[in-house]
Symmetry: C2
């Protein structure tokens, strides 16, 4: 079967999750790149064929399209060592992946996107009005992660899982969103452990 | 083994997802109730033992605690008919569950919570400033669902899955958040199909 095709913008941590999962598993991935800032994921063609939601990443498997980064990671990794064998642990891994999408990404990734790619001067008044709340909620997410990692090497069980990959993607570039990682030493040690994995690939 | 214990506030659609999953599967659940508005999920005891994130629902299995509603649904339903057997479909089910937590719940559930339980007069200026964006994003989520359901009975494959349960929870009470469901006829038909399932239980 042909390699899966990743419809992506290389600046997106959500896309990077999927590339990191594939790299750690030794799975080949073909890339199809779009510029989010130029609106390339909102064209009628993209909406009609790739994702009606107008978002990347989307993982294409043959003729089928799978949006949502964490679902794509699950597709690639199911049955591998990146998904725990224990039933509770498997659900607990998904727990951290839902936490990532609900409590981490909308705060840390959004501030990074606004500050690094859009530019603070270009933000709308409404976006500016949300910055403080996102700053506080992002710090709460990092503090929760730090407490969890204080006594363990990985988020779930004894080895690296998709929970670590999902949370690594935007945590390791959180400083681009103005988050100081020095306040979270257990997070810093965990980032180093993840970077030391065989077959680790850096974000573009 | 003893029944799982659901730490919940019955007004929460996220808690209802887990009760509906358990009901459809014929699994017994014991309830431990908290009043979110009275701060009962932010007590030192709750944070130390149930969930450091201060949120419900949390599903307790023996001595282990599983936060995040969709992860708890997964724990209960894995291996059942509510999770597709096909690998792509299984990932696609998770795709809709991540969509629910990222694009649906923060808009539709939050507006319902603000308008029905907090009261518009009690909202902070910052919350009021977010209402319009949440209204627009919530309508986009409903429109996407409506287009998807226009040609199919369930979100994934040929039968009801956790994707339907996760999306039903806050869609069926979206009018309490000021969303008119008459504009989304395929969503309305799908809500009726879900309510007709054997062992369906209504939200409290």
């Amino acid at each position: 079967m042909a390699d899966p095709i990743l419809h992506e913008d290389p600046r997106s941590g959500n896309c990077y999750k999927i590339k990191l999962t594939a790299a750690l598993l030794g799975i080949g991935i073909e890339a199809s790149q779009y510029d989010i800032l130029a609106g390339e994921t909102r064209t009628p063609e993209f909406l009609a064929t790739v994702n009606a939601n107008g978002r990347i990443p989307v993982l294409q498997i043959g003729e089928r399209f799978l949006p949502e980064s964490n679902a794509a990671c699950w597709y690639l990794a199911e049955g591998s060592a990146l998904v725990p064998r224990d039933r509770f642990d498997r659900a607990d891994m998904l727990r951290w992946m839902f936490f990532e999408q609900y409590s981490h990404e909308p705060n840390i990734a959004t501030l990074r996107f606004w500050l690094r790619f859009v530019g603070e001067a270009n933000l709308s008044p409404q976006q500016k009005g949300q910055m403080m709340a996102k700053r506080i909620a992002g710090c709460e997410a990092l503090a929760l992660m730090d407490r969890h990692l204080a006594s363990r090497e990985w988020f779930v069980g004894d080895g690296v899982t998709l929970a670590d990959i999902a949370l690594f993607a935007y945590t390791h570039v959180a400083e681009e969103g103005g988050f100081g990682l020095d306040d979270y030493p257990a997070v810093g040690a965990w980032l180093s452990r993840l970077r030391s994995l065989p077959r680790f690939v850096a974000m573009d």
